[in-house]
């Protein structure tokens, strides 16, 4: 099941940012230009070395790929154990790409303690990448905790107004969740020992466990607290608007695009496959909280007067959609959920960049301070328009694919949930278009906005990859969906024992599923027109 890698590609991806940190330590702190250059080159290399994952990932292989395994703490059975499947490949690529964008966007925004800033930003990259690669639960937990620290400092030192409050809130909130999660991890660890006599944190082994339902229930609750805070799900979301609002632009971008995905990734990697029965039992609770999050986040976003806080609340709404799709526990819903995680990273990441650009020019986030920017910053207004449309799920852009898959995936489970959740598409349009109108349209009433410079070449380049991805996923999502196929099926098999994985159906000649498919094919397509 595990395919050991000949070349330690994952380690290379993981430690590239740390090498950058080492180099930075040897550069004089006064030489800000060189520090910026080195940081940008580092994330650039970081992205390039992660690209082979996209091309070399085998969509026909349902096992773990690029696996590396070495002893770490043998006495307790913890290993340095890395490996990826489709979920992690896409999230790792998102992380390395957003790393490039976040670092590039900081070029002129950060002028104070430049060296420390980039050290933290790069260290954060390693933390996040590690969490997406770890197949050892303890190693995952280590990275999970490690990434708190740089983010704490990024908000606390380079943030705005209320930065200390927000930084501490972010830190404590996550910490409380993760302490409870650690208890859950230990419970799985000891249960595994009680069954097999082996002490290990090997997640791939945990995926095969059949933990008794009662224990699963409690462990699910423990994991839930840890992950739900990170997503964040209603009602654990209030750290998010504060952290987002006060974080520096790059911090917000990383927070929205990658850090929030830790929570959803945790659910799909650990909760669902390790605790399948409890997952099924918790579906109504999670779905209800998700739907509340969708509607509640959207409505609260509508009431915001602070541009960045509005985007932050829109995140609560979108992440509710992601969770809803996942807990539909249908292949379409889970696929949509992962795609929507990428989409959220792309569109919300871009929206935070967009706020950051005017914040850097005007040092205010109040929506009322702006208006008529289309006139002075036409390129900026155009990019903002595209990203607004991506965020509200306009077809031909990425957001639509995720929303349609999620809603179709949940529709077959519960029509009522789909009816309520779909209202998010109306509310989303309302708050985003109103924001766009208030900031971009009208006359330039505020004299301070009259001579704002449009985007520089560097700023345009921070958006180009996101624009390309938005259109690509919108028009031709197949390469992304193909990479998710086996991973989605692996989870589906765990949560639904009746489920037949797609790949197995092809290999397993003569199985009833295949026969059915063949019959349907002869009939003019896969099972359809069943009404006849």
């Amino acid at each position: 099941m595990s395919n050991a890698a000949e070349f330690p590609l994952l380690s290379l991806i993981l430690f590239t940012p740390l090498v950058g940190v080492l180099v930075l330590l040897f550069i004089d702190r006064a030489n800000a230009h060189l520090i910026r250059l080195v940081s940008n080159v580092t994330v650039g290399i970081g992205f390039l070395v992660s690209l082979p994952l996209w091309f070399m990932y085998d969509t026909q292989d349902a096992g773990w790929q690029f696996v590396e395994r070495h002893d770490w703490i043998p006495s307790i059975g913890a290993d340095y154990f890395l490996g990826v499947d489709g979920f992690s490949v896409l999230l790792i690529l998102l992380t390395t790409l957003m790393g490039v964008i976040a670092v590039l966007s900081s070029w002129t925004a950060i002028t104070m303690r430049v060296k420390e800033y980039y050290v933290f930003l790069l260290a954060l990259q390693t933390g996040m990448l590690g969490a997406f690669m770890s197949l050892d639960f303890l190693l995952f937990f280590l990275f999970w905790e490690v990434m708190l620290v740089p983010m704490y400092f990024l908000i606390g030192i380079w943030g705005s107004d209320n930065r200390l409050y927000s930084a501490i809130k972010f830190f404590l909130f996550t910490l409380v969740g993760s302490v409870v999660m650690l208890l859950g991890i230990l419970a799985v660890y000891f249960y595994h020992h009680s069954v097999t006599g082996i002490y290990t944190f090997d997640v791939t082994q945990f995926h095969k466990l059949g933990i008794p339902y009662d224990l699963q229930w409690w462990i699910f609750l423990a994991f839930f607290l840890g992950f739900a805070v990170k997503v964040p799900m209603f009602p654990f979301h209030t750290w998010l608007p504060d952290a987002h609002t006060d974080a520096p632009t790059a911090g917000s971008v990383i927070l929205a695009a990658v850090l929030l995905k830790m929570g959803t990734y945790g659910f799909i990697r650990f909760s669902l496959p390790i605790l399948p029965e409890a997952t099924v039992a918790f579906v109504p609770v999670v779905a209800a909280l998700s739907i509340v999050g969708i509607v509640y986040g959207a409505l609260v976003a509508m009431a915001q007067k602070d541009w960045k806080r509005l985007v932050a609340y829109s995140s609560v709404s979108h992440m509710g959609m992601v969770m809803l799709g996942m807990f539909a526990l249908t292949p379409v819903g889970i696929t949509g959920s992962i795609v929507q995680q990428l989409n959220h990273g792309i569109s919300t990441g871009a929206l935070f960049l967009i706020v950051g650009i005017v914040y850097e020019r005007r040092h205010t986030r109040a929506i009322a301070e702006y208006g008529g920017l289309s006139k002075v910053m036409p390129v900026y207004a155009t990019i903002f328009l595209v990203m607004t449309m991506s965020s509200i799920g306009l077809p031909t852009l990425n957001g639509f694919i995720g929303e349609v898959l999620i809603l179709q995936g949940i529709f077959v489970v519960s029509k009522m949930w789909a009816f309520v959740a779909a209202s998010g598409i109306v509310l989303g349009a309302a708050y985003m278009l109103w924001l766009y109108q208030r900031t971009m349209f009208g006359n330039v009433d505020n004299p301070k906005n009259e001579s704002l410079p449009d985007l520089s070449m560097r700023e345009i380049w921070t958006f180009v990859p996101l624009l390309i991805l938005a259109v690509w996923i919108g028009l031709y999502p197949k390469p992304f969906l193909d990479r998710l196929e086996t991973s989605v099926d692996n989870v589906m098999v765990r949560v639904n024992s009746d489920y037949t994985p797609r790949l197995a159906a092809v290999e397993d000649q003569g199985s009833p599923t295949l026969a059915l498919d063949a019959a349907a094919q002869a009939d003019g397509g896969p099972v359809r027109g069943g009404a006849r």
Binding site: P235, Q408, L433, T500, V527
Partner: protein, 688 residues
């Protein structure tokens, strides 16, 4: 016909050229030529495809271009299905007709726009043509899409372009408000549409129109006796989508406001093409709707009531474009009335003729507004006939056509609808007939107030100010040829388009109905027996409606040309009704008070809840922790540490006494020793 996917692509490329390059570097003329050229190519390709379709015996040509959403297993009502949507397009009679309407009228409007938009700054012109081309791109995807989801792509895309074009003059608050309103109201409809799509997949396991129709044909018709089943629910949800896009009750409110956009936009998007998408979608799903007679009844009723209500509002509007806007809502109501009584080809026929005469009327009004230096109020017009004879002549043709005077196009399509409605439901026919009278009246009121009578507008600007662009305005004048030629072309269409649907009662063969028929049925579907023709009824209805129309035209002439004071007297006599109509039944105010304010206040309420309760709990936890820390601190300092210090204090205080002993004087020590010895000895002697 494998090339049909190029038809949307060409305007798409035009939009990209104008959007990426043109805004920075195209001259006004280049921008216009690129966009118009793209439309010309699209029109030629469409005509070519249409001719091939006519020559082919096969009526359905499906072209799959690429994969979009690859197959993913998903359970449906009938077991495990496969959710899969390719980029596939279908040419059939219905989409073929729409192709010609969209590209043909689109091309004329593009040409007209070159003249109309010439006052705008250079980059603005390119932006305008970029949006216009982008609109055509999405509209053609909507028309050609083989499946619900591909149609939805176009459906949402045209909504975006409508938003951008209504808000084209984005500095104007009313324009950007109108654009936003259009988008959001449409999204409410889309909520129904997308849920309908999900239910289609869940029910049939496919989203392909043909496959759905074939599967539905095998299912029982959900009559009153059978009950409101799943097909009825699908149709109702789809119809909610249609009411948004095609401006029907209760979602029609965005269309009148959409007149904030440039007039060519009103002609193309808000009259001829996009707003008919709802009708097109219902026609596309004719088989589904025929299996849901209950919903068909709702569609017919909504259509009829919308037609009447919009017409009554149109009677009193004074803004020339708003009259036309309400007229559009009203005519769309006719089309839904037709689909509701099962006359799908009549609906599609009226869609086509309406596209000609309403685009003509809008472009004509644009020509008038242009001539009047951006004046839209008909009370400040009048007598323009002398100044702009060509615009007058063509608009008159449009008005005659929409009023239903034979042999112009509106007569044939409208009478087909009224006749079919009469056979199905006389009450709805009554509403339709009254609407027809009102239509003739408000259209000729418009013609009379604008072109006839006395000129009531401002005096020509002698000194050369007053125009927003700094040009002198020399009084009303005929528009340039780039604008009048499309008017002439459309007028020809408005005269002739009806002849493809001359009914049998008048010796014709109703070509269009036979041509479109395959799109509304599936092979092997139980055909309704060829209805007996009631030529006498049809003749009587035709005669009656022509008579009524002529009467309405006469009444309009009397009130607005011969005795203008009559109209005012009538308005005074019916002051209450007049106020109700000029205020559009207060529907906007009602929506504003309920939905808009309701959602805003719940948004603010939830925000307070979020800060006060949810975050309050978090901060409360933090506060409690800190408070208990403070208490611990106090305890620690005064109780725990107090005890420690008490011990110390006791030791220290106690030591004072002993310190006195430590004097360092030998005599004292010697004395103490002596006393001690004495005491011990005494104790020893006495005690023993």
């Amino acid at each position: 016909m494998d090339f049909i996917w190029l038809i949307p692509l060409v305007p798409g490329i035009g939009a990209a050229l104008n959007g990426l390059v043109g805004v920075r570097s195209f001259s006004k003329r280049t921008a216009g030529l690129v966009a118009t050229g793209a439309m010309a190519i699209a029109f030629l390709l469409s005509a070519f495809a249409f001719i091939q379709l006519l020559g082919s015996t096969e009526r359905f040509h499906k072209v799959t271009v690429a994969s979009w959403i690859p197959p993913i297993p998903l359970e449906t009502a009938n077991g495990i299905g496969s959710f899969e949507v390719p980029w596939a397009f279908t040419l059939d009679p219905l989409s073929g007709m729409m192709l010609l309407v969209v590209t043909g009228i689109g091309l004329l409007i593009h040409i007209y726009s070159i003249g109309y938009i010439d006052h705008e700054p250079r980059g603005g012109v390119a932006r305008f043509f970029c949006y216009l081309n982008l609109f055509c791109f999405f509209m053609l995807i909507l028309v050609l899409g083989s499946s619900f989801l591909v149609m939805f792509v176009g459906w949402e895309g045209v909504g975006l372009c409508s938003y951008l074009l209504i808000g084209y003059w984005y500095k104007k608050k009313s324009a950007s408000d109108a654009g936003k309103k259009a988008f959001i109201v449409n999204r409410i409809g889309d909520w129904g549409f997308i849920l309908g799509i999900f239910l289609v997949f869940f029910t049939f396991g496919t989203l392909d129109f043909r496959e759905v129709a074939e599967a539905a044909a095998a299912l029982p018709v959900e009559t009153q006796a059978v009950g409101f089943g799943v097909i009825s629910l699908i149709c109702l949800l789809l119809f909610i989508g249609a009411t948004g896009k095609s401006a029907q009750i209760p979602l029609y409110v965005w269309l009148p406001d959409a007149m904030e956009g440039p007039t060519p936009v009103s002609a193309l998007i808000h009259a001829a093409t996009m707003v008919t998408a709802g009708v097109y979608m219902v026609c596309r799903n004719a088989v589904l709707f025929e299996h849901a007679p209950i919903v068909m009844g709702i569609v017919a009723a909504i259509g009829a009531v919308t037609a009447l209500m919009a017409a009554t509002i149109g009677l009193v509007q004074t803004d020339i474009k708003r009259v036309l806007a309400y007229s559009t809502v009203s005519q769309l109501g006719y089309m839904f009335l037709a689909t509701g009584v099962g006359a799908f080809s009549a609906a599609a026929f009226h869609l086509m003729t309406h596209a000609f005469f309403k685009a003509l009327l809008f472009l004509g009004s644009g020509s008038v507004i242009h001539a009047m230096n951006e004046e839209q109020d008909m009370r400040r017009m009048g007598g323009l006939r002398q100044h702009m004879p060509l615009t007058f002549a063509t608009m008159l043709i449009g008005a005659v056509a929409i009023a239903g005077i034979p042999p112009l196009s509106g007569f044939f399509s409208k009478d087909e609808i009224l006749y079919r409605t009469f056979l199905s439901n006389q009450l709805l026919w009554g509403i339709g007939a009254i609407t027809a009278v009102m239509t003739a009246f408000y259209m000729f009121r418009l013609i009379n107030m604008t072109f006839l009578g006395q000129y009531r507008g401002p005096a020509p600007d002698a000194e050369g100010h007053g125009d927003s662009h700094g040009h002198a305005w020399h009084g009303p004048h005929e528009s340039p040829r780039l604008m009048t030629w499309p008017l002439v072309a459309l007028a020809v269409g408005a005269v002739l388009a009806g002849f493809v649907g001359v009914p049998a009662a008048l010796g014709g063969s109703n070509m269009i109905e036979h041509f479109l028929e395959p799109s509304f049925t599936v092979p092997g579907m139980a055909h309704a027996a060829e209805e007996a023709h009631h030529y006498e009824i049809e003749w009587a209805l035709m005669a009656l409606s022509v008579l009524l129309a002529v009467g309405a035209i006469w009444f309009a002439r009397r009130n607005y040309v011969e005795r203008p004071e009559e109209a005012e007297r009538l308005a005074e006599r019916l002051a209450g009704t007049h106020r109700l109509l000029t205020n559009k039944y207060y529907v906007d105010e009602l929506y504003d008070a309920t939905f808009v304010r309701g959602s805003m206040s719940s948004a603010r309420g939830l925000w307070r809840f979020d800060g006060g309760v949810v975050d309050g709990a978090v901060n409360g936890t933090g506060w409690t922790t800190r408070a208990s820390a403070t208490i611990s601190h106090v305890l620690d300092k005064y109780v725990v540490d107090g005890l420690v210090n008490l011990v110390g204090w006791i030791c220290r205080e106690g030591s004072y006494g002993f310190r006195r002993v430590q004097t360092g004087l030998i005599q004292n020590y010697a004395f103490a020793t002596l006393v001690g010895v004495f005491a011990f000895v005494t104790w020893f002697l006495v005690g023993r």
